[in-house]
């Protein structure tokens, strides 16, 4: 039914990875291409610790509320390539808690029990190696686009000329005009543009891990597709591991190499799925019948996993 999608979509779209090594045209996508990952498999290389590893992590707050319970997963460190992990689940399932534990942000950090390891070392607090992009497009109101993007370098004491030069490059990378937009203030920008500024401010530091907490949740659908394409293109030459929280199954399946599905109250990791990579533009790929079948299959799976009858 969906076997010959690549031939039916006509010519390969221009954003379909001109620089991707395994560029043999888009592969067909169907529920059969989704594979379940199991956490009992040991890390591929014992000498090389995983980029991110959660070992039986539980977070309970002072008032007794448990946000996440016994979460275990790892993301291997593959040389020259980062994994794009999307986190999916209803509100209150602890997706943001996991992101903030990785980032080392209070009050989620530190975990009540279990270990959160980044390249083998426990998280001590926030740092520039783990960039974070929030939903509400955080750009410093008092700084121009240029100074917003250069903020991290400024904190490191990088000289004005060098940090502006690097900031201009990143501003262009995220699809803003380095000449026209660089001196604008955040209040003069649209939501999508502000989010590009926030992404640029993180990218300029070349973090090993990028954490994105529903970054496109408040954008209109057309802008959202454009931003998804942007992320896919940026990520290709970034070599960073991305953790991306979303409410949208379509977004999770499109962007992710791996999708983690969580259930609420308290947050538990239900399943990890390997999903097809985004090798076509967001708008066209997310309309393909094969893609939609995968989305529906995951939606059904989530419904089943969440229904009270399925619980033990």
């Amino acid at each position: 039914m969906v076997r010959h999608l690549n031939s039916s979509t006509g010519p390969v779209p221009e954003t379909a990875s001109t620089d991707s090594p395994q560029d043999e045209g888009p592969s067909p996508i169907s529920p059969a291409t989704v594979r379940e990952l199991h956490e009992n498999a040991p890390a591929a290389d014992a000498a090389k610790p995983p980029v991110i590893e959660f070992r039986n992590v539980t977070k309970t707050y002072g008032d007794g509320y448990t946000a996440i319970e016994n979460i275990t997963f790892h993301v291997d460190d593959v040389a020259g390539k980062g994994e794009f992990v999307t986190l999916l689940g209803p509100s209150g399932c602890g997706k943001s808690t996991i992101l903030r534990l990785i980032a080392g942000l209070t009050p989620q950090h530190p975990a009540t029990s279990g270990e959160v390891l980044i390249v083998g070392k426990p998280v001590a607090g926030p740092g520039p190696d783990r960039g974070m992009v929030f939903q509400d497009y955080i750009a410093f109101d008092n700084r121009s686009v240029l100074d917003n993007v250069a903020f991290g370098l400024e904190c490191q004491g990088v000289g004005t000329d060098e940090r502006y030069e690097r900031a201009r490059k990143v501003i262009a990378q995220v699809g803003l005009n380095a000449d026209r937009d660089a001196y604008k203030y955040p209040h003069q920008l649209s939501g999508g543009m502000r989010q590009r500024v926030a992404i640029a401010g993180t990218l300029i530091l070349r973090p090993k891990i990028i954490l994105m907490d529903e970054p496109f949740g408040a954008l209109d659908p057309a802008t959202r597709y454009r931003m998804q394409d942007l992320i896919v293109n940026l990520w290709r030459d970034l070599e960073a591991t991305v953790f991306f929280v979303t409410h949208s199954v379509e977004e999770a399946v499109y962007l992710g190499d791996r999708t983690m599905i969580f259930s609420p109250g308290p947050g538990r990791l239900l399943q990890q799925l390997e999903v097809p990579p985004p090798d076509r533009p967001a708008k066209s790929m997310q309309r393909e019948p094969g893609f939609l079948e995968v989305v529906y299959a995951i939606k059904d799976m989530v419904d089943k996993l969440e229904s009270p009858l399925a619980k033990d």
Binding site: N142, C155, L211
Partner: protein
């Protein structure tokens, strides 16, 4: 379409700027007309006795004399009196600024400092303004220093409190974004919290400066030989009602223009956040 034909009496609708201004002018004219009518005629036949209310014409004439540089009974011009009052406000306010704002920022940044300062701030804010007059007179005499300290004590606790609140209200997400970009605690304070709190601190300063311009009259009722408050006192001593009324008009107008000036500066200092009225 519906909005263009909307009646100006529509619920909660704001009239157009021109109509709005016109209504404002008419309203003032109506007040002056009523004032004129109740002070019309010979002193004995007026609705309101001249011992209570002068005629608008008398007040207008006095105002004109004051503005055109005529000196008052003591030989001081209006400009000199305004300058004297503003000088006292500015010196006291400046002192309140250099003490109150840094303290407020430290209290906003640090929870323990906030907890330590809270009872003092609460105490200071609840002292009635008028009670500061005898207090400052005992401690600082009855000259210029006392008037400066009066404004300082009246303003500083509020300025500190507002600066503290402004820092506390900067959303966590800004701090967290800075942290994940490698900013140190000191950098977060100087590069994120203070710049983002400044517009709110400035707004508070604007309001407090306007209040201080009003407060100084209270201090000038005691041992001042210049100042708008002193003008009021002289008017009262001589039962010179037109001078008192004219001075009140001057005070209100001055306060209005000072606020407009501060608002204009706000737009210049903080171009990234449009000044609110």
């Amino acid at each position: 379409m519906a909005s263009s034909t909307r009646s100006i009496f529509a619920l909660r609708a704001a009239p157009s700027p021109v109509i709005g201004r016109l209504i404002g002018v008419l309203s003032v004219a109506a007040l002056i007309l009523v004032w004129y009518l109740i002070t019309l005629g010979a002193a004995e036949s007026r609705v309101v006795s001249p011992a209570i209310l002068p005629t608008p014409l008398e007040v207008g004439r006095r105002l004109l004399t004051l503005i055109t540089g005529g000196s008052d009974a003591e030989g001081s011009t209006l400009a000199l009196n305004i300058a004297a009052s503003l000088k006292r406000v500015i010196s006291g306010f400046f002192l309140a600024f250099i003490v109150g704002v840094p303290l407020g920022i430290i209290a906003g940044v640090s929870g323990p400092v906030r907890a330590a300062l809270a009872p003092h701030a609460l105490f200071m804010r609840n002292i009635p303004l008028a009670a500061l007059i005898p207090l400052t007179m005992v401690s600082f005499g009855i000259d210029e220093q006392q008037k400066t300290m009066f404004i300082f004590l009246a303003v500083a606790p509020f300025l500190m409190g507002d600066a503290m609140v402004a820092i506390v209200r900067v959303p966590d997400k800004y701090v967290e974004t800075a942290q994940t970009r490698g900013a140190s605690t000191f950098q977060i304070i100087t590069k994120v919290l203070i710049p983002l709190a400044m517009p709110a601190i400035y707004s508070s300063m604007r309001t407090l400066f306007g209040l201080a311009v009003g407060y100084i009259m209270l201090a000038e009722l005691v041992n001042a030989d210049l100042g708008l408050g002193h003008m009021l006192l002289v008017g009262q001593r001589r039962s010179d009602l037109p001078t008192i009324f004219a001075t009140l008009v001057v005070i209100a107008t001055l306060a209005f223009f000072v606020d407009k000036l501060l608002q204009l500066l706000q737009g210049k200092i903080f171009p990234y956040r449009p000044a609110e009225d």
